[in-house]
Amino acid sequence: MARVIVDDLTKEYNSPGGSILAVDELNLEIDDGEFVVFVGPSGCGKSTTLRCIAGLETVTDGTLHFGDEDVTDQKPKERNIAMVFQNYALYPHMTSRENMAFGLKMSTDLSKDVIDERVEDTAEMMGIKELLADKPKALSGGQQQRVALGRAIVRDPEVFLMDEPLSNLDAKLRAQMRTELQQLQSELDVTTVYVTHDQTEAMTMGDRIVVLNDGKLQQVGTPLECYHRPANRFVAGFLGSPPMNFLEVDVDLESGTLSNSAFSLPIPESAVDDVSGSKLTLGIRPEHVSLVDAVETHAEPDHLIETEVTVTEPMGDITNVYLDVGGESLTVTSDDRLGVRGGDTVHIHVPAAKIHLFDAESGEAIKHSDEPIDSTRIAEASGHAETA
C-alpha cells in the first residue's frame, strides 16, 4: 500500500510534426488506499498519466513517488503494481490459472504450491474457480474481465492501475462490475488509479476524481465536489448527463441583472461581490430548471422565461425537454407532469441559487450553486458559494 505522489509530471511525445505535449506539469497526491478516477475526453492525457505511473512510459519531466520511494526511473517490475487493461491483455496461450500465476512466478520467489494457493484463494474470491483450467478464448468477456482482475489482485500490489477496464463490457454487466469493483477495492484497501472516459463510472466509483483535459489537470475532488462545485466550465460541462446548460449573458451591475435577448435575471446575491466585467457564462443543470405550470401563481413570476419546446426525449422516469432560449438550446429534465410536446410554449424557472457563473474568457468558476456536496456540510454550503 502506498501513497502515490505525482510531482510536475510532464510527458512529451516526439512526432514528425513536432513534439506533442500529452501531460503538462501534473501535480497530484493519491492517499494510501484511495480510489482515484482519472476522467476526461479522449486524448486528455489520462491514460498517458496512468502509463507513466505504471512505468510503461518514460517521464519527460517531473517525479513520481510511491510513499517515500522515488520510482520515476524504475522499471514496471520494480514498482510493485498491477494493471488491468481495457482489452484485458490476458495471455491467450495460458489458462486462467497460468495467467493469474504468471506475475507471481516472474516477480517473486514463491514456491509453486504457495502460488497455487494464492491463485485459488483469489479465484475463489472472484468466483472464477471453475474457470481456472480454461484458456481466455473459452471465456466470455465478463469472465475474462474477472480473470484479468484476479491476475491483478493475486499479486497483492501496492497500487492497482486500471485502464478503462469496463469499457468492453455490455451496459448491464458494466453496471454490475462497477459495484463489484468498488466493493472489492474497499475490501482490499489498495491504492487504486482508475482511468475512464465514462463520467458515470467516474461519479459512482471514485473516492476522488481527477478531471483532465488537454494534458492539464482541471480539478481534483470528490465526485460531488466536482459535480456541484466545478472549478471551471470544462468540468461543469463534462460531468453530468444531460450536461449543464450554458448561456452567454451580459452583466449589468447597475440594475444588478444578467440578461440576454430572451431573459433577464437578477445577479444572485451571493455572487454580487465577485462579478466583474460585462460578459459571463451562466450555467444551470437541467435538473435545476423547472417547467412552470401556473405562471400566475408562481412565487417569482418576474424570473420566469417564456420559451418554445423543440424536442422532447422521454426516458421513462424523466423526460429531457429541449428548449429554445433566445436562439440558444437549453435542456430541462422534467418529471413530465405537463406532457409538453415539440412546438409548445412553456415557461421555465431558473432559481438564482442554482446558478453557476463562469468567466466568459477563462471559463473559471465565479459562483456555484448552493447544492450541498457533503451531508455534513449541507447547512454550511447552502447560501454561499465557495471555490473548490
Binding site: 505504471a54 512505468g55 510503461l56 522499471k75 514496471p76 517490475k77 503494481i81 498491477a82 494493471m83 487493461f85 482489452n87 491483455a89 490476458l90 495471455y91 491467450p92 496461450h93 495460458m94 504468471f102 506475475g103 516472474m106 516477480s107 484458456k135 478464448k137 491476475r151 499479486r155 492501475l161
Partner: protein, 328 residues
C-alpha cells in the same frame, strides 16, 4: 398400387440425380460457383501432382527397367519385390537407401533448426524499430529471391577446400588450423544443411515477422507489469504467440527440405559424396542413371510415406492441439 408407382418414380428421379454427381446436386448455388472456380486449379493439381503420384505408385509394383522403359504398361507385375529389394538393409542397395533416408532426416531436421533459429533471429531484429530496417528487410530477403542455382553455385565456390573463401576466412581468424573439406567426406551433410538453410531462412523470417507483428503490444505491457524480463517476455509471450505460424513454418520447411532436390544436386556436383546423398538425390541417381524405374519408384513411395507419416504425427501432436486453439 399408386404408392408403389410413386415410389418407383421417386427412385428413378433419385437415380438420375444420384448417378449424375449426387454430391453436386446437394450444393447451394454459391457452393457450386465456388467449385467451378476451383475446378481449373484442381485439374492442374491432378495433372501435376496426383497423376504422377498414382503412376509412380503403380510402377513401384512393376518390374520397369530399361527393357520396359518404352512400354512400362507391359512390364511384369512383381508385387512387393521392388520394396523388399530396396528395403533389405543387408544388401548394398538397401543399405545405401537406408543410409540416404537417415541423411534425409538429418538434412530435414538440421535445416529446420538452422532456418528457424536464423529466421526467428532475423525476424526479431526486424521487429525492432531502428533506422534502415526497411533496407535491412530487403537485404535479408535476397537469399530467397536470388536464383537458387546461382546461390548454390556461389556457395560451392566458397566451400572449396583450397580456394574457397570460407576456409580462408576461418584460417585467417584462427578458428581452424587446417582447411576443412566442406564438399567431400562426412561434413557434406552439414554443408548441405547450412547452404539450404541460407536459401530458405528468409521465408521463415518473413512468416515469423508477420507473426510478430500480430502480437498485441498490450501483452508485452502486461508482462512488463507482471515483472517479466526481456528474455522472459520472449519465452512466455513472443514464443508461444508465434506457435501457430511456427507450426506452419516447421511443417513446410521440414517437408520441403525432405523433397528438396536442387540444393544437394547443384551444391554437391556430379559425384555427390556419400554423406550428401540424401534420399531424393540417391533415388534420382539410382533410378535415372540405371533405368531402374520400378525400384526407384518404390524408393520414392517409401520416402513419400516417411514424409507423410512425419507430417501427420507432427500435425496430430502439435499442430492440431495448439494451432486450432490459439490461432484466433
Amino acid at each position: 398400387m399408386a404408392s408403389t408407382t410413386r415410389q418407383f418414380r421417386r427412385r428413378v428421379a433419385d437415380l438420375q440425380l444420384g448417378n449424375y454427381l449426387p454430391f453436386y446436386s446437394r450444393l447451394s448455388e454459391e457452393q457450386r460457383f465456388a467449385y467451378k472456380l476451383l475446378a481449373p486449379g484442381l485439374a492442374m493439381m491432378c495433372i501435376i501432382h496426383f497423376l504422377p503420384i498414382i503412376w509412380g505408385t503403380l510402377i513401384s509394383f512393376m518390374g520397369v527397367d530399361s527393357t520396359y522403359a518404352r512400354q512400362w504398361h507391359n512390364a511384369p507385375f512383381v508385387g512387393l519385390e521392388n520394396y523388399l529389394y530396396v528395403l533389405d538393409p543387408r544388401t548394398v542397395i538397401g543399405g545405401r537407401f537406408w543410409f540416404s533416408i537417415r541423411q534425409t532426416v538429418i538434412f530435414a531436421v538440421g535445416s529446420l533448426v538452422v532456418t528457424y533459429v536464423l529466421g526467428l533471429t532475423a525476424a526479431l531484429v526486424l521487429n525492432q524499430k531502428f533506422k534502415g530496417r526497411f533496407v535491412a528487410r530487403t537485404l535479408l530477403l535476397l537469399p530467397w529471391v536470388a536464383p537458387v542455382v546461382v546461390t548454390l553455385l556461389i556457395w560451392r565456390m566458397m566451400f572449396q577446400q583450397q580456394s574457397g573463401i570460407i576456409n580462408n576466412i576461418l584460417l585467417s581468424i584462427g578458428i581452424i588450423d587446417e582447411p576443412i573439406y566442406w564438399l567431400i567426406g562426412d561434413n557434406t551433410i552439414w554443408t548441405l544443411v547450412l547452404t539450404h538453410s541460407w536459401t530458405q531462412f528468409p521465408l521463415v523470417m518473413i512468416m515469423l515477422y508477420a507473426g510478430l507483428q500480430g502480437i498485441p503490444q498490450q501483452l508485452y505491457e502486461a508482462a512488463s507489469i507482471d515483472g517479466a524480463s526481456r528474455w522472459q517476455k520472449f519465452r512466455y509471450v513472443t514464443f508461444p504467440q508465434l506457435k501457430p505460424v511456427s507450426a506452419v513454418v516447421v511443417l513446410l520447411v521440414m517437408l520441403w527440405t525432405m523433397i528438396n532436390f536442387t540444393a544437394p544436386y547443384v551444391l554437391l556436383g556430379a559425384q555427390p559424396p556419400r554423406a550428401g546423398q540424401v534420399g531424393i538425390l540417391y533415388i534420382y541417381e539410382f533410378a535415372f542413371s540405371n533405368f531402374q524405374f520400378g525400384r526407384g519408384a518404390a524408393m520414392s513411395v517409401i520416402l513419400f510415406i516417411i514424409a507423410m507419416t512425419m507430417a501427420m504425427v507432427y500435425y496430430k501432436y502439435l499442430f492440431d492441439d495448439d494451432f486450432t486453439e490459439d490461432s484466433q
